[in-house]
């Protein structure tokens, strides 16, 4: 299989309310990530920076799925170890303990028989894919609201206004070993990926995200427009979007093309 091209675009903005941008992103083909830091006094910026720095070390390693899972996990553990050292330093300097932590949403190209997307998330930063069938949220938020939704205790409408909608149940922090969820998708099932922080997905709804991703063919435009829309909707939090397109796949993916041809010929009566 020929190498696929990954086209990407990324945008981030501090928003209208916050004073600092604690989001961070990574575009280092073939690894992409967003991280939403939290914790006062620069702790959030430090945490999200650690996360993308560690994940950035995965670039260019051409791992298989299984090694990829271990490698992502190791990156997150290294991030945790650094956060621990940072927390230690803060405690030693007599300041208040920084409750630093960060979310992470990661997409890495892995190479089994065919290249695949290995995706991982911790917290409420999201991974979406856009396919012919529309927008699909791949990741599951590690958030109180998501757990209440899963338990059937609130509706989606209630979730959008729930007072605890910013409370996440997993994060990369000094305190606990990272517990990412992983996802493995064939490239053909995710020709456009969106990684975003809740400053995007919390400000604009999925229909708007889908419309913007569909309208803007260039991933750079798509990312910028998503962040712009989040700002226009209020910009209450740092907003970050990374859009990645898999280019050159259809030519290689024989059976889809062949299937289309077959069905066309069948429709035209050329085949029984």
């Amino acid at each position: 299989m020929a190498a696929v091209d990954l086209h990407h675009g990324a945008a981030t903005d501090v928003g209208h309310v916050r004073e600092a941008n604690e989001d961070a992103f990574l575009v280092a083909p073939d690894v992409f990530a967003v991280a939403d830091g939290m914790g006062g006094h620069a702790g959030g910026e430090v945490a999200s920076a650690y996360a993308v720095q560690e994940l950035g070390r995965l670039t260019g390693r051409r791992l298989g799925s299984r090694a990829g899972v271990e490698a992502v996990l190791e990156s997150l553990v290294r991030c945790q170890v650094r956060l621990r050292a940072y927390a230690e330093g803060q405690a030693g300097s007599g300041g208040p303990a920084p409750h630093s932590g960060t979310t992470a949403a990661v997409a890495m190209l892995v190479h089994d028989e065919d290249p695949r997307w290995l995706l991982a998330n911790v917290g409420d930063s999201r991974i979406y894919r856009l396919t012919d069938a529309g927008l699909d949220q791949v990741s599951t938020d590690h958030s109180v609201v998501q757990e209440l939704l899963d338990a059937g205790r609130i509706t989606a409408e209630e979730a959008a206004e729930h007072p605890e909608r910013h409370v996440i149940t997993r994060a990369l922090s000094a305190a606990e070993a990272p517990e990412p969820d992983f996802f493995s998708l064939p490239l053909a099932a995710a020709e456009r990926l969106l990684l975003c922080t809740d400053g995007v997905s919390g400000m604009i709804d999925d229909a708007t995200i889908e419309a913007l991703l569909t309208r803007h063919e260039d991933p750079r435009d798509a990312a910028e427009q998503l962040v712009a829309a989040a700002l226009a909707a209020g910009g209450r939090d740092n907003a970050t979007a990374v859009v990645v397109d898999v280019v050159g796949l259809a030519k290689e993916h024989a059976y889809d093309a062949q299937q289309q041809k077959l069905s066309l010929e069948t429709k035209l009566g050329a085949l029984p």
Partner: protein, 454 residues
């Protein structure tokens, strides 16, 4: 008074690196790693330093270990792999296991005892007290004297099934019935420090200086275990923004040495509990206590793991609910030690079922943990009769234990199952069906799977 840094061990094959307050347990094969750690641990290195060294060769190099920092009535524990720790603390009995996680780390206060359960340790003999050193162990108990007292006081019935109590009962029996035997001589020719034969007894009347309960999720480091933390510029990274100094309006929190706690905690006698005299056979090991001068204090901000000061996202507690996985999806699969079945595909590949196997035209794996990554099998389907993620076959649980079970994942065209001696059946989406060796599964488009013995 009991102190959980007092340890007892039975003999066995695991390696115990016993520092003043820190303990590392490693499987018997990890001789080189244990020897390398010994110097660090014996110097009284902090938890993080020891963890860093343990992981120096990467996470995958050390699939199993236990790291415990225990002093006074506090313990910080980290378990990776197959070992388990039973902890009795003011929160009651807790089992610390890693399961599918990278590891599990917990902090406990009001600790009465910890018991490490080590798989394949070839445990022999009764636990006997041990001091700092490097030795082979089959089990390890912290705070054994108190456990012994507890066991003596408790009725045996309500704790009989508990491994903590079991080991503790052993300890009690050993201490009551026979003179304590020395631990078997260390079989390693490694540099070994023998346990001190007659350590000075710790003054029993000394109040425990570490009464402050720790929050499990407190992200700061425990000064009683680690000593005053110092900033480490190298590890913090020079390229990072310098954190701001605390604003005056921030609530004072950890790190400020303060008043509460120094008075100590005197264990409250349980009403009705007979007074058990201290067991004389377990002299506490006298070692400098790093944290004595720095009792933890500090009311941490109350919400979750700490409130977010200047942003929206914050970390909280999971919603209480049964661990049911994702609605509409099968439970997270476990990986079995041996495959329960072999799948022979019509397109020529063969796959053993020791974990979930997801089969389809372009299979997707959704929301898996690092330890249970499913096997993905792509089958050719020129007419796209096979759905992208069509069928799951995984090791069965419960009544299906030891066999493979197949579940149609809501495929478009369904799945036909033909089992020996049974009429063909269409799998109901989402309903797992046990597979008998010799079964044939038809996914459509000429794709069949033959189920055989592994």
């Amino acid at each position: 008074m009991n102190d959980v840094k007092n340890r007892s061990s039975s003999t066995g094959t695991w390696l115990a690196v016993l520092g003043p307050e820190l303990t590392v347990l490693l499987p018997g094969r990890e001789k080189a790693r244990a020897a390398a750690l010994w110097a660090t641990v014996d110097d009284g290195a902090r938890f993080e330093v020891v963890l860093d060294q343990l992981l120096a060769d990467g996470l995958q190099a050390v699939p199993d270990f236990v790291l415990v920092a225990a002093a006074g009535r506090s313990a910080r524990v980290l378990v990776r792999g197959s070992a388990a720790l039973s902890v009795r603390s003011e929160d009651g009995a807790n089992e610390v296991v890693a399961g599918d996680r990278v590891w599990t780390e917990r902090t406990f206060s009001g600790v009465e005892s910890l018991v490490a359960t080590l798989p394949d340790a070839g445990e022999r003999g009764l636990p006997a007290p041990v001091g700092p050193g490097l030795l082979r162990v089959g089990s390890l108990v912290w705070g054994a004297d108190d456990v012994a007292a507890d066991v003596a006081a408790d009725s045996a019935a309500d704790v009989a099934a508990d491994s903590t109590a079991d080991s503790a009962a052993d300890a009690a029996a050993g201490e009551a019935a026979v003179p304590v035997s020395e631990p078997e001589p260390e079989p390693e020719p490694e540099p070994v420090v023998e346990p001190e034969p007659e350590p000075e007894p710790e003054p029993v009347v000394e109040p425990d200086p570490e009464p402050e309960p720790f929050d499990d999720h407190e992200p700061t480091l425990d000064p009683t275990l680690d000593g005053p933390a110092q900033p480490d510029p190298e590890r913090a990274g020079p390229d990072l923004p310098t954190p701001h100094q605390p604003a005056p309006d921030q609530p004072a929190s950890a790190g400020a040495p303060g008043a509460p706690g120094v008075a100590g905690v005197v264990p409250t006698p349980v009403p009705g509990m007979p007074t058990v005299p201290p067991l004389p056979t377990v002299p506490p090991v006298s070692v400098p206590r790093v944290g004595d001068q720095a009792p933890p204090t500090g009311a941490q901000p109350a919400v979750g793991r700490g409130p977010e000061h200047d942003g929206l996202t914050q970390l909280g507690q999971p919603v209480e609910q049964p661990p049911s996985g994702i609605p509409g999806q099968p439970q997270a699969p476990k990986v079995t030690a041996r495959p329960v079945a072999r799948l022979v595909f019509s397109h020529g590949t063969t796959t053993d079922v020791d974990r979930a196997v997801l089969i389809g035209r372009a299979p997707e794996a959704r929301r898996f943990a690092p330890g249970d990554q499913p096997q993905l099998v792509t089958v050719p389907s020129p007419h796209q009769e096979v759905s992208s993620t069509h069928l799951e076959i995984r090791p069965g649980s419960g009544v299906d234990h030891g066999t493979a079970v197949a579940t149609d994942l809501g495929s478009t065209n369904g799945t036909l199952l033909v089992q020996p001696g049974l009429p063909p059946e269409d799998l109901q989406p989402g309903i797992a069906v046990q597979l008998i060796p010799g079964a044939i599964i038809d996914l459509g488009d000429g794709v069949t799977i033959q189920v055989t013995q592994p």
